[in-house]
């Protein structure tokens, strides 16, 4: 047994987190920064932070993850990190020549209270920021929220620093995709362009964290939202923020700063939340939904009706980030599956918990929800009453193996399989992919467990 000390005996814990279902803010900020074109993320803390974040993101994407650090020593921790950050800015612009540096803080620099805007001003007045180049920042204390909060804060910083308007509106929508995969960002953008809607997406990590192998390394790959696009986003007709936890802060900041109305939606995972997304784009941009999208939707509905027998009533445990957890739960409920154990590590709040409760209102029996919770508690629930399917990040495979439960990897991080950065799980097509993954897991199990007599050719 891999988790041999986990027992069904649940004892209340107030202080000890065991097997977290979240990590810290700065990694989310680093990920968001990579979605700005020509941007080098910079971690203002000790060098272990950036080493860990780069490692974790690299294991997930199997791609270069470039970032820099202020490399605090004990001295910097006592006297403040200004000298380190100013030196770092100088070295980065001299050596690596990015267009923009996105600074995020850490528990270390937040605890000592470094004032980043003041340090950026100092770097500017010392002539360390070349003309036409930018340094922006987000405060991302590791002891508040989770990696999703860090993503949200850095995405909001893109609005705070760059979005501007002269009062003239342009026919374009801002799309804030949330803490999702590069492939998801491509798919969300594709859906907009399929509807002939011009869009500005930020951040956008597609072609940054799923780039090609050509024999030439580009420190700053082709993808990412440009600073000019970010500036222009203040003149868009409207903003759709996907995922209340990851994207709403940026969307609302855009609304108050540039008077661009914002609609906050769930991530477009599954039939119903994709419907809401397409419908919101249609209304906001004043366009008709093309037949091509009706076809995609119809194919999904068709597949669901075809495979419903193997989905209906299946008990599912999901552990994931809040925006994904909510939309995925709604998707499973729409398939007549029974999502019964729901855990996120992020402190996503009472409103979120109520939405999650609402999503399972029609699921019969006892549904257990823990916000925030950890994977140890989640596993203990499974020990008490098992499920038919487990959905979670790679760490959940230890549970899946110990309990012998069919398992679909979903979320962050996925360290041990390919696919997530190339094939989207968003939109109608993404829902088909999720269906395929769930059915593969469930039906492989059915085939494995059937007797020779009951083994079926056709399912």
């Amino acid at each position: 047994m891999l988790l041999r000390h986990t027992t069904p005996d649940i004892k209340e814990r107030k202080a000890l987190m065991v097997n977290p279902a979240k990590t810290c803010q700065p990694i989310g900020a680093m990920y968001a920064s990579l979605g700005v074109h020509g941007c080098l993320p910079h971690s203002h803390g000790s060098q272990g932070c950036y080493a860990y974040h780069r490692s974790a993101l690299t294991r997930h994407y199997k791609e270069p993850v470039m970032a820099a650090t202020s490399a605090f020593t004990e001295g910097a921790s006592v006297f403040g990190g200004q000298a380190n950050l100013v030196q770092a800015i100088d070295n980065i612009f001299t050596v690596y020549e990015p267009d923009v540096i996105a600074v995020h803080t850490t528990c270390l620099s937040e605890t000592i209270g470094d004032d980043i805007p003041q340090i950026i001003n100092k770097a500017a007045s010392d002539g360390r920021i070349p003309d036409g180049k930018y340094v922006f920042h987000a405060n991302t204390p590791s002891y508040v929220g989770s990696h999703v909060t860090g993503f949200a804060n850095m995405t909001k910083a893109m609005v705070d620093y760059f979005a501007e308007t002269d009062g003239h509106k342009k026919k374009a929508l801002n799309l804030i995709p949330g803490y999702v995969e590069p492939a998801d960002m491509t798919e969300i953008r594709r859906l907009a362009s399929e509807m002939n809607i011009a869009s500005i997406m930020f951040p956008d990590t597609s072609r940054v964290l799923n780039g090609p192998l050509t024999g030439k390394f580009k420190m700053f790959p082709q993808g990412g939202v440009t600073i000019d696009q970010l500036k222009g986003s203040g003149s868009s007709t409207g903003t759709i923020a996907l995922g209340a936890i990851a994207s709403a802060p940026a969307g609302l900041a855009m609304d108050s700063k540039c008077k661009v109305p914002c609609q906050v939606l769930n991530l477009p995972i599954g039939l119903l939340d994709t419907d809401l997304f397409i419908d919101a784009m249609r209304r906001m941009a004043g366009v008709n939904v093309p037949e091509s999208i009706d076809l995609e939707r119809g194919q999904l509905v068709d597949a669901i009706s075809d495979w419903h027998p193997y989905l209906q009533g299946k008990r599912v445990g999901i552990v994931g980030d809040p925006d994904q957890l909510l939309a995925m739960t709604r998707f499973l409920a729409s398939l007549d599956m029974h999502p019964v154990y729901l855990v996120t590590g992020s402190p996503a709040g009472k409103k979120f918990e109520a939405q999650l409760r609402q999503a399972v209102a029609e699921v019969p029996g006892d549904v257990r929800i823990k916000v925030p919770g950890d994977m140890f508690l989640f596993h203990q629930w499974l020990k008490n009453e098992p499920v038919d399917l487990l959905i979670g990040n790679t760490y959940a495979k230890y549970i899946a193996r110990d309990e012998d439960i069919p398992f679909v990897r979903y979320g962050f991080p996925i360290f041990d399989r390919m696919g997530h950065s190339y094939f989207s799980s968003m939109g109608y097509r993404g829902a088909l992919r999720l269906l395929e993954k769930m059915l593969d897991a469930l039906l492989d199990r059915k085939d494995r467990d059937s007797s020779d007599i009951e083994f079926e050719l056709v399912l």
Partner: protein
């Protein structure tokens, strides 16, 4: 080139300055010419052209100094060295990270230290778990000691471990939580061993500080707490072997076949019970000198067991190390068994190398990793007929490059001074020199070296480029200038290098393969390098239309 006051560096003559067809002095210039002057001056001392003079002396290399902010180094932090590297691989200690969630999360199962819990009677294994106090802002403001106490209690209530260790992260040191007093209090209350490490990430200049702090803690709180003398002949400890990919299992297999009794390994496939008992062994073997030499030194001073440097990476190196151990014990039976094992196991390994060698001969490698692997793995490449053009460590000190003879000349700077050096004295009752002065003199007379590590540079080629704490920029330059056939580093570097069309072998995680130690491991490594440098995919980077962009005038169906 910087020169220590009491050391005369060999100078670089023209004949040693050609590296793979390039003038290595020009190469060095190209690595640093883009840097701001202050940075260039610093890096100049950390990039050295290797030169070995007739007395075997090598140039001075600046190392174990601060990372340059913004330069993109490979290094991690003190916590990573302490919790991640040294204490992480021990299965039966509950390691609680006291801090925000990230540090504990990132060090959860990511170093792939294998362990066999069923080899301990109690079967404890907490390595698959991550324990953290998940510090929140109210603890940053009001202090986290209360939460830590409660967390230790909850760990005890849920898991009943025999030991709990606590690791401090950056904010813990800043807000002044006293993890040690909390641990003392809880040790008394729970009646199990509870001990803490002040391994805040900002301490020192790299992981290295964390290794030292881990060594100090394990020596203070664990080593020597169990005096049971176990059965068995030729008792040894293996230090600085972390069982990545099962390396320690292969070494254990060889030891057992030779009739050596392994008392403890620090810390691959290890149990805290073995550490407690380690002082009853008769010899310490050091694999990774950088991360573990402190505990060997302290054991020698307090208990009298000497240490020697070994290397089980490379088939020849394995044979050499086994012979060295046999020579120490001076027992005919042991010597015969060691020779029999080498005679049985070395030839198939050499045959495997010979089969692969035509496909690897003459290929060129670069290694930038760790505190010993950049040295050890050169052996394996040499066995494949490959040449190491350039190498360097991520977090080593001068002695790892130049040999321990430079130790007295190393200047202790402010960053290193902050890492405690324990003052150790011989134990009143348990100090027992394992060899008499006469025996030591006799062994020394035969060329046997105690407490010695000659370092990486004396074993590298003349003119090879040695780069300490290489930056992303220098990595790119080296690749552009030399186009090596394989590059060795870690996960952060892997895909940036591979985008150039050059395979990168991870020497921290082994790319999820291994073992690479010992005889079996050598064959695994040969096959892996053969696969990597000869993979077809490197031929397919360009599409047909990129290779031949001209439009053809003839069509197949004409």
């Amino acid at each position: 080139m910087a020169t220590a006051a009491n050391k005369k560096d060999p100078t670089c003559e023209d004949d040693c300055c050609e590296l793979d067809g390039l003038d290595v002095r020009t190469v060095k210039k190209k690595l640093i010419e883009k840097y701001p002057p202050k940075v260039a001056r610093k890096r100049d001392k950390q990039i050295v052209v290797n030169r070995i003079d007739p007395e075997g002396r090598v140039p001075t290399i600046q190392s174990n100094v601060r990372t340059v902010p913004g330069l993109i180094s490979q290094r991690g932090c003190c916590y990573a060295g302490c919790k991640g590297v040294v204490l992480g691989p021990t299965r039966d200690i509950i390691n609680i990270t006291h801090g925000p969630v990230g540090c504990g999360f990132y060090s959860w199962l990511t170093r792939r230290n294998q362990t066999d819990p069923d080899s301990s009677p109690d079967g404890h294994n907490f390595m698959t778990y991550c324990f953290t106090t998940d510090m929140q802002d109210e603890e940053i403001i009001f202090g986290g000691e209360k939460k830590l106490k409660q967390a230790i209690q909850e760990a005890y209530d849920n898991f009943h471990p025999k030991a709990i260790a606590v690791f401090a992260t950056c904010p813990v040191g800043l807000i002044g939580d006293d993890v040690h007093s909390v641990c003392r209090e809880m040790k008394k209350k729970l009646g199990i061993n509870v001990f803490g490490f002040s391994c805040e990430g900002y301490k020192g200049v790299s992981q290295s500080a964390g290794h030292h702090i881990a060594n100090n803690g394990i020596f203070t709180h664990v080593v020597g707490t169990d005096d049971t003398v176990r059965d068995g002949e030729f008792k040894i400890n293996l230090l600085g072997e972390y069982n990545i990919g099962g390396d320690a299992f292969e070494i254990e297999r060889i030891f057992e076949a030779c009739g050596l009794t392994l008392v403890s390994t620090f810390s691959g496939n290890s149990s805290i019970d073995q550490f407690a008992n380690a002082h009853t062994a008769d010899l310490n073997l050091i694999m990774c000198h950088r991360s573990i030499n402190y505990v060997a030194e302290m054991m020698e001073t307090k208990f009298g067991l000497p240490w020697i440097k070994v290397n089980f990476i490379g088939a020849e190196a394995t044979a050499k190390s086994l012979r060295k151990i046999a020579q120490y014990f001076g027992d005919d039976g042991l010597t015969q068994r060691v020779e029999a094992i080498i005679a049985a196991e070395l030839p198939p390994v050499q045959a495997a190398a010979a089969e692969i060698r035509p496909r690897t001969e003459g290929k060129r490698a670069m290694l930038f990793v760790g505190g010993s692997r950049a040295h050890h793995y050169q052996e394996l490449f040499a066995e494949l007929g490959m040449k190491t053009l350039s190498a360097g460590y991520e977090f080593a000190h001068r002695d790892d490059y130049e040999g321990r003879e430079v130790l007295p000349a190393i200047k202790v700077d402010a960053d290193s001074r902050n890492i405690e050096e324990l003052e150790i004295h011989p134990d009143d009752t348990r100090f027992n020199p394992r060899k008499s002065d006469a025996q030591i003199a006799a062994l020394n007379g035969k060329g046997f070296k105690f407490a010695d590590y000659e370092g990486m540079m004396p074993e590298m080629a003349q003119g090879a480029l040695v780069i300490d704490d290489i930056s992303q920029w220098e990595t790119e330059r080296m690749i552009a200038l030399f186009k090596p056939d394989i590059f060795c580093a870690g996960i952060k570097e892997k895909y940036a290098v591979q985008k150039h069309g050059i395979p990168l072998k991870q020497l921290h995680s082994y790319d999820y393969g291994g073992p690479y130690a010992g005889f079996t491991g050598a064959v695994n490594f040969y096959k892996e390098i053969d696969r990597m440098v000869n993979s077809r995919i490197w031929r397919y980077l360009k599409s047909p239309w990129q290779q031949n962009p001209e439009l053809a005038a003839k069509y197949a169906f004409e």
